[in-house]
């Protein structure tokens, strides 16, 4: 597996606590300027907004390769000490039938999936698994709404949360269209997938990627033209979740059926 480069010098520079600077230039003006320009974000040029950094990370999920084993969910839970009942990543099972769509994700898919009922099986036309997680959006609504700037986007593309700063108000939980955020019931702050930032900065892959036995989860650097994510990305055969939300996710799905929400 390719070792990730670990130059994160720019990552912690942070863009918050600019209150004085903002106050001087006028809060109203800032509010107007800060409104995200959906058109600019959607017109991505080469497909994503390159920031002044050496890395630009992205995540690819290949629906055809996921077998719903759930090892990724378990690995994530252990790696990140995720409390029971909430999930940084989960796997959904879709069964498309002539009568409608059957979806489930018992315990986030962490223990795999029991067969569906005979009734559903009879009607089944197609079934597949969809891993979900934080999309580390380019235009993250969670970052926009955080009242104190405790959640922020790093230049390398990680959407992160400063747990020592978060108020635990859950506004970001409401703002995320993907249900990727939750309030950590032990720490009482907002929580979500970090793409295992702590592992990546040491040159490792996220725990879920490492745990996946089929290569359905791929993580890498778009700035590296040889990386798997770059090659998949350049093929343009990918989709994102809820594109009408204009959040520009950086998790790209290969072979994503239109029934997936």
């Amino acid at each position: 597996m390719k070792k990730l480069v670990s130059d994160f010098s720019e990552l912690d520079s942070g863009s918050r606590r600019k209150f004085l600077q903002y106050a001087m230039s006028g809060a109203a003006t800032i509010l107007m300027v800060q409104m995200p320009d959906a058109a600019a974000i959607q017109g991505r040029g080469k497909g994503w907004k390159q920031m002044s950094t050496k890395h630009q990370y992205a995540y690819v999920i290949d629906i055809n390769k996921c077998i719903g084993w759930g090892g990724c969910v378990r690995a994530c839970g252990q790696e990140n000490d995720v409390p029971e009942g909430v999930f940084r990543t989960w796997v959904e099972r879709y069964v498309l039938t002539e009568d409608g769509v059957y979806v489930d994700s018992p315990k986030g898919g962490s223990e795999g999936f029991e067969p569906v009922s005979a009734e559903i099986q009879e009607k089944a036309q197609r079934s597949f698994f969809v891993p979900k997680m934080c999309n580390h959006c380019e235009n993250p609504p969670c970052v926009q709404v955080c009242p104190v700037g405790a959640t922020y986007k790093s230049p390398e593309g990680f959407v992160l949360i400063d747990h020592d700063y978060c108020l635990g108000c859950a506004y970001c939980v409401q703002a995320c269209p993907y249900g990727a955020r939750f309030i950590n019931t032990e720490k009482h702050v907002s929580d979500k997938c970090t793409w295992c930032y702590h592992r990546v900065k040491q040159g490792n892959q996220p725990a879920c990627v490492e745990a996946c036995p089929t290569g359905a989860r791929i993580f890498g650097d778009l700035m590296d033209p040889e990386s798997d994510v770059s090659q998949i990305f350049n093929d343009s055969q990918w989709m994102v979740l809820k594109p009408d939300m204009y959040t520009s996710p950086m998790c790209f799905y290969v072979e994503l059926p239109r029934e997936v929400v």
């Binding site: 509010l31 108020l167 409401q174």
Partner: protein, 389 residues
């Protein structure tokens, strides 16, 4: 119950199983709304000089202040890390609709305190001069050390009161319209996402504040066996009726528009209204607590009914509106979270009684402004004409 998006089974995202903003967060815009509504009445008295409201202008102001003291308390109870709440003042993240709430709320509370102090300082001075010992010391503190009162001071005070009441009205509108914006700007929750939300929140705030004042007024007069001012009640109900019609029309317009547009928005809202919100929104909020008050208050305003009968009808209608807005807050705040972002399932809301965000805490916070009002009213005249006016 029909499930949305052709779902065969109720599927909600694993992280959507908990309703993160509970009844406590419904209480927050409710109390904030009561401030705005009560302040509007004081504004009608002090700024627009509506003579029928002159006697209740200060009552409305003290009520607004009592509510104001507790508007942010539900938020503090809700925060996972309440000890960090001050960060919203020191490092507000200005892209967030929530970030300047601290400033708007605090500045409004200061404005209220200033106006109340200016109105009541002749009373404080009078009490300071008439008492001794510890009581005198307390009144002295309330005079802020200014123990003389000249006719010229009264003139200046009057101008300042008029100015504060004048800017207070748009500021009250900002305070509550802003709360509506906090919800209306969340695109991830279709039931919230609407540019009408700030206006609806504002109008319903005025409705709840006015209706609550009417109920409080009648209760206090009944309790103290004082005479009712029927002319004021009739005029008051005319204002309340008109504003409620406006609020209700906008509330319904929002839903009708989504229905007619028949797009993605409606695909989510329809199952919500036919499903988990059918009872509390369609039946209780709209059919019972909106239509009946419209007719009740309309009868009070348009007919020649007067005296005790008018008072009873006015109070019944007002009490229903107090509840209507409480249900509206609940149906918006909690209701929006009852359809999962999976768009294929409904979330169960579990009523908690004793927890930090439970019914007991919410009810206590809701009751606190009334206790505060009672305590304040023990020491300063609420309905009497203050010396300077």
């Amino acid at each position: 119950m029909d499930l949305p998006h052709g779902a065969l089974v109720n599927y909600i995202f694993p992280n959507n199983e908990i309703v993160w903003w509970s009844i406590l967060i419904a209480v927050y815009p409710y109390i904030t709304g009561l401030i705005a509504g009560a302040f509007v009445v004081s504004g009608l008295a002090h700024v627009f000089k509506i003579k029928e409201f002159k006697a209740i202008g200060n009552f409305a102001l003290i009520a607004a202040f009592s509510f104001g003291l507790f508007a942010a308390v539900p938020l503090l109870f809700h925060l996972g890390q309440p000890q960090r709440a001050y960060e919203i003042y020191f490092t507000p993240h200005l892209t967030s609709a929530m970030s300047i709430f601290g400033y708007i709320y605090t500045s409004y509370l200061i404005l209220l305190m200033l106006e109340i102090w200016l109105i009541y300082r002749p009373h404080f001075i009078q009490k300071f001069n008439a008492t001794t010992g510890l009581q005198r010391q307390i009144w002295y503190i309330l005079t802020l050390g200014v123990t003389t009162y000249h006719p010229n001071s009264a003139k200046i005070d009057q101008k300042l009161i008029l100015f504060l009441a004048g800017i207070g009205i748009p500021w009250a509108f900002v305070l509550h319209g802003y709360v509506g914006f906090v919800f209306g700007s969340v695109k991830a929750i279709a039931w919230w996402a609407s540019p009408l939300q700030p206006v609806i929140f504002l109008l319903s705030a005025i409705v709840s504040g006015m209706a609550m004042l009417m109920v409080m007024y009648s209760f206090i007069k009944w309790w103290s066996k004082a005479a009712y001012d029927y002319a004021m009640v009739k005029k008051f109900i005319a204002f309340l009726w008109g504003i409620f019609i406006l609020a209700f029309v906008l509330e319904i317009l929002e839903v009708l528009f989504a229905r007619y547009e028949n797009g993605h928005h409606w695909a989510i809202i329809e199952p919500l209204l036919n499903g988990p919100l059918f009872g509390s929104y369609v039946i209780i909020q709209v059919l019972v607590l909106s239509f009946i008050p419209v007719f009740l208050l309309g009868y009070v305003v348009l007919s020649s009914v007067n005296g005790k009968k008018m008072l009873y009808l006015a109070n019944l209608g007002s009490f229903m509106l107090v509840l209507q807005v409480l249900f509206m807050r609940f149906n918006v705040v909690v209701g929006g979270q009852l359809i999962s972002k999976s768009e294929r399932g409904f979330v169960d809301y579990h009523w908690e009684i004793f927890g930090r965000e439970g019914i007991l805490v919410s009810a206590t916070i809701l009751a606190a402004p009334f206790v505060t009002f009672y305590l304040i009213s023990r020491f300063i005249p609420i309905f009497e004409k203050p010396a300077q006016e």
